[in-house]
Structure formats: structure tokens, C-alpha cells
Subunit: 329 residues, 2 copies
């Protein structure tokens, strides 16, 4: 069976290859006024989780994953399209310690750069696409539709007073999980998976995506500022209705409940109050609730991998899932 | 042969059908925060030129155009996506005498509404798509890529001092003509056209699109304000580098040339100066130059229709081309 070390070296190699390929996607395209800002954000080397999922799921169904590279580039461009537009809507100045596109350039440039990224994403998805029928493009489009719907729900929740945990789960299923799900579905389809393999990997992606978002909520308060690349407690400061917040609101009583309700009314807290709310979270044990939920969804995801025959491929996807979830906190 | 009256009644019937179908596309979708603003712009009943082109080109190659309706809706949604985002970038308050989406709602809502429209456009394009292979989706995507590139060039030209007529033609080929071209290509492909029919209709669309944009430039100064739905001379006021402007700059000398160069430096003129510049245009005969250019590209377009065997279908496309170009001025 493949070791964690072998997994790490494979992932490192693939990540480099993806970065090299991404670099060449936009480098020679014109006009530069359109593609240079997109180049700027793509050069921002993230984890490349989504393209890695496309490649590893294509491999897991016995496919030649060399044929999945264009789709892998496409999902990364689609992901970056959402980042550029979301950063405008969220009024975010920085992402991974770099200025966001609309701050480095301007809002108009960022709108168009996002649109262009999405357009080129489809172009690459369709390039030498070997699967007959339009199922791959349909999966990709379903992911795009859902991510727009999820972002819209997220924006609605900013002003909605009573968001249930159920509604929150629907929102993150669309905003975060639908894209992870789509990557796995697209990979499985390009790899020529059977319908049961496609179904299993799609479910793997969806549950992994939900775990990933709750993990993201948890890291916001329990993460390491440097490693996480965001300000600790940022979600509280912005008054975001995260899993932790909604769980705390549900569990708390009296004075504590009033403290959380105040966040809704004031649409956030002062930076100086983060420590106080972190202690309230600990008192109510919602950090552990979140961890349990993450474990639950991760297990749901990993159970789907029983459909994957090759033990090494199963192991690779398991390692990738763990690497996503076991971020430090 | 089909008469203009028969053409008009067919077009009216199809336009109504398109409007009814467009209404139902987004009406029941959720979240409303995403789809309601898109509904608002789609309800703004334009000429529906692009979906009509999809239907009539599908018919022209002997196809059953009932099968092209989803694609027809898709191109109209794609077109409206560009309008919503362009209106933000152009800082436009009104379109067809209605508030633009980012004014009626806000910029964030408009960005996301545009993204959602594009996503649903792909969803409809792919719905029951009967053509094997991915050629239809590739044509559609090529149109999208080019319209983004064209918009970026248009924005570049706003600050570029020396734009040649050749550069202008490249810009409008992308910004306006690529989409008209794509509608014809998609229609011809869905209709099951031969490769020579597809090629001819694609060229028909491209040349028609160029004629259409120069006509648009001409109407800006020579059109009827109520009918055109825009302020007369708006392009001059905004300092847009239209065909008329670039031609005038090329032909003028001395004091007149200086007057046009002043527009570049000042990035536009005062509303009170429109009449003066209109007279300069007339003196330099650039209105007639534009008319000649429109006729040239229209003829280029119509010549392609020789590839269409059925005389009635050829006639329908000819009427549609004329209805586009013979707008009053």
C-alpha cells in the first residue's frame, strides 16, 4: 500500500505541474488588460485541491489521468473566478497575504477578469474532451450554478436574523461543497468510471466539501493566524453565521445567548472582543461540536471509497481527504 | 417567396414565444436574491435578435427549429449577462429607459446576477442538446471568450490616444460581432447543417454583427432619441472611439482635427457641444462613410446566404438582416 510519504511526493509533483500549466494558460493571451489580472490571481499558489481531486478521481476509476489535465486547469480557473468576484462582494482587501484583484487593479477590472477566467475555464474543459455526450460539461455547469446560488444565500444570511443549522448546511453544500463534488464527478467521468463509481465519488466530494467548510469555520477561531493566512476571529468580527456561531446560539442561554444575539443586531463584533467570544465557544463546547461534525462528514465521504477497487488509489484519495481536514488548529 | 408581412408575423410570433419561455426560465428558481434581479433584466423586452438568429439559422439548414429553443434562450441569457456587467463597468444608470440592475439593486447584486445568468445560460444550452460532440458548446464558449476580450479592448480604447480604424474593427468583431456570429453558428449546428452551411452562416453572422455595430455608432448621432432609447450624441459626450469619430479624426485637418483631438484629451465633450460636432461630422461626410461601410458589411453577410438552398429560409434571414440594419436614422 502507498505510504504517506509517497502520497506527499506525488502531490508535490502534481501541484508543480498544475502550477506550470496554469502559468502558460493565460501568459500569451491578449488583450493583457483582460488576462494580466487573472494571471496575477492564478500565480497565487494555493493548495490546488480542486485540480488534484480531478486528477486523483480520474485515476481512481482506472482512467489515464493525463487526459484530465485540461479539466483540472478548468476547475482551478472556475474556483479563482469565484474568488475574484466574491472578494469584491465581501469587500476583502487581501487573500493569502496578497492584495485582492479589485484592490490591486479596480472593481471593473476584477469583474471582467473573473468573467474572462470563467470563459477560459470552459474553453479548457472542452479542449480535447474525450468523453462522449455532454455529461462532463453538465456536471461542471451544475457546479457553477450551485456556487452562484450558494454565494447568494451566504449574502442573504448576512442580513437574515434567524438562520437555522439546516439552512446553513444547504448554503455550504452549494457554496463550498458543490464545487468539490463537481471536481470528483468530472474526474470520475473523464476517467471513464462506471455509474456506481461516479455516484460514489460524487458523494465523496460532497461530504468532503461540507467537512472542509465546517473545518474552515473552525479554523477561523481556532487556527494559527500565519498558517491560516486570515485574521483570527474574522468571521465573528464580520458577524458571519458560521457553524460555530449558529451552534452557540442554539446551545446558549440567558446572558450568553444575549451576547450572541448582539452580534446579529450589530452585524459583527469589535476585534478586541474575539477572545471573549472564543472563551464562550469553549464554555459551550461548540469547538468540539464542530470537530465531531467534521469527523462525521469525513467518515461519510471516506465510506464511499469502498467503491474504488484499487487499494493504492483509494489510499491516495484518503490521504488527500485527511490533508484537507487535518489542517492545524 | 415569403413576403415581408409574413416575415413580420412569424417574427412577432417567435418573439412572443421567446418572451414567454424566458419568463418561465428563472421564475421558479431559488434563491430569489440571485434570480429576481436577472428576471428583472430579462423582462426588459428587447428585440430578441440573438435568439431569433439561432432559430432562423437552424431552420435555414433544414433543421427542426423547435429543437433550438433552449439554445435560443441560452444566447439571450448570455447577452443579458454581458449587459448587466457592462452597465456596471460603463457606469450606466439606464438601459431602454429602465434603471440598470446595479442601480435598481446594487453592484454586488448585479455582479452575482450576471454570473447566475451565465451559469443558467450554459444549463439551458446543454438541456436536451441533440448534437453529438461538443461543437455547439465550443462555439458558445468561443463567443463568450471573445465578448470578454472585446469588452476589455473597448475599456482599453477609452484611455488609448491613438486607436486605428483597423483596431476598432478588431474590437467590434469581438465585442459585438462574435456573439451574433456565435448565434448563427450554434443555430446552424443544432439544425444539423453541413460544414459549408455552418461556415457560410458563421460568416453571415460575423459580417452582420460588424454592420450592426457601425449602425449603432451611426444611430448614436443620427438616430431618433425616443426610438433609439439613448441620449443623442452619448458616444461623443463619453468620448467613445466610434467608427464615426475615428473616421473624422482621420479625414479632418487643421482646426477641425484639433477639435476632435480635444475630445481625446478631455475624454468627452459637453452635452451642449453635440450639435457642433454633428455638423463637423456632416462637413467631413463621415455619416455617409459609415452608411457605406454598413452597406458593404451587410452585402458581405447576405452573399453568404447563397449557400442556403431553400428560398424562403434565405428570404427570412435577409429580412432579419434588413430589420437590423434599416433602423431609422
Amino acid at each position: 500500500m502507498i505510504s504517506e510519504k509517497e502520497f506527499n511526493s506525488l502531490i508535490e509533483k502534481e501541484r508543480k505541474l498544475i502550477n506550470t500549466k496554469l502559468k502558460s494558460v493565460l501568459a500569451k493571451r491578449n488583450p493583457r488588460s483582460l488576462y494580466e489580472p487573472s494571471d496575477y490571481i492564478l500565480a497565487d499558489q494555493g493548495k490546488r485541491l480542486r485540480p488534484l481531486l480531478v486528477l486523483l478521481t480520474a485515476k481512481a476509476v482506472g482512467g489515464n489521468y493525463a487526459k484530465a489535465y485540461n479539466a483540472a486547469l478548468a476547475v482551478e480557473m472556475l474556483h479563482n473566478f469565484t474568488l475574484v468576484h466574491d472578494d469584491i462582494m465581501d469587500n476583502a482587501d487581501k487573500r493569502r497575504n496578497k492584495l485582492t484583484v479589485h484592490i490591486k487593479y479596480d472593481v471593473n477590472t476584477a469583474i471582467l477578469a473573473g468573467d474572462g477566467l470563467l470563459a477560459v475555464a470552459y474553453e479548457y474543459l472542452l479542449k480535447n474532451l474525450i468523453v462522449p455526450g455532454n455529461e462532463v460539461v453538465k456536471s461542471f455547469t451544475k457546479g457553477l450554478v450551485e456556487v452562484c446560488e450558494g454565494q447568494s444565500l451566504d449574502k442573504e444570511f448576512e442580513v437574515k436574523k434567524d438562520v437555522s443549522i439546516e439552512e446553513y448546511l444547504i448554503m455550504i453544500s452549494k457554496k463550498t461543497a458543490a464545487m468539490i463534488e463537481m471536481c470528483c464527478e468530472v474526474g470520475a467521468r473523464i476517467g471513464g468510471g462506471s455509474s456506481s463509481e461516479i455516484k460514489a465519488l460524487t458523494r465523496f466530494g460532497k461530504n468532503l466539501g461540507i467537512a472542509f467548510q465546517i473545518q474552515d469555520d473552525l479554523l477561523d477561531i481556532a487556527g494559527d493566524e500565519v498558517e491560516f493566512g486570515k485574521k483570527i476571529g474574522g468571521d465573528l468580527i464580520e458577524g458571519k453565521k458560521t457553524f460555530l456561531f449558529l451552534k452557540a446560539l442554539e446551545k446558549s442561554k440567558g446572558k450568553d445567548k444575549a451576547a450572541f444575539q448582539k452580534i446579529i443586531v450589530n452585524k459583527g463584533i469589535q476585534p478586541g472582543e474575539v477572545e471573549k467570544y472564543k472563551m464562550l465557544y469553549q464554555k459551550l463546547d461548540v469547538l468540539n461540536d464542530a470537530k465531531k461534525e467534521i469527523v462525521l462528514y469525513t467518515q461519510k465521504a471516506l465510506r464511499q471509497l469502498n467503491q474504488i477497487k484499487n487499494v493504492n488509489d483509494r489510499q491516495l484519495l484518503t490521504f488527500l481527504a485527511y490533508s484537507l481536514i487535518k489542517r492545524k488548529y
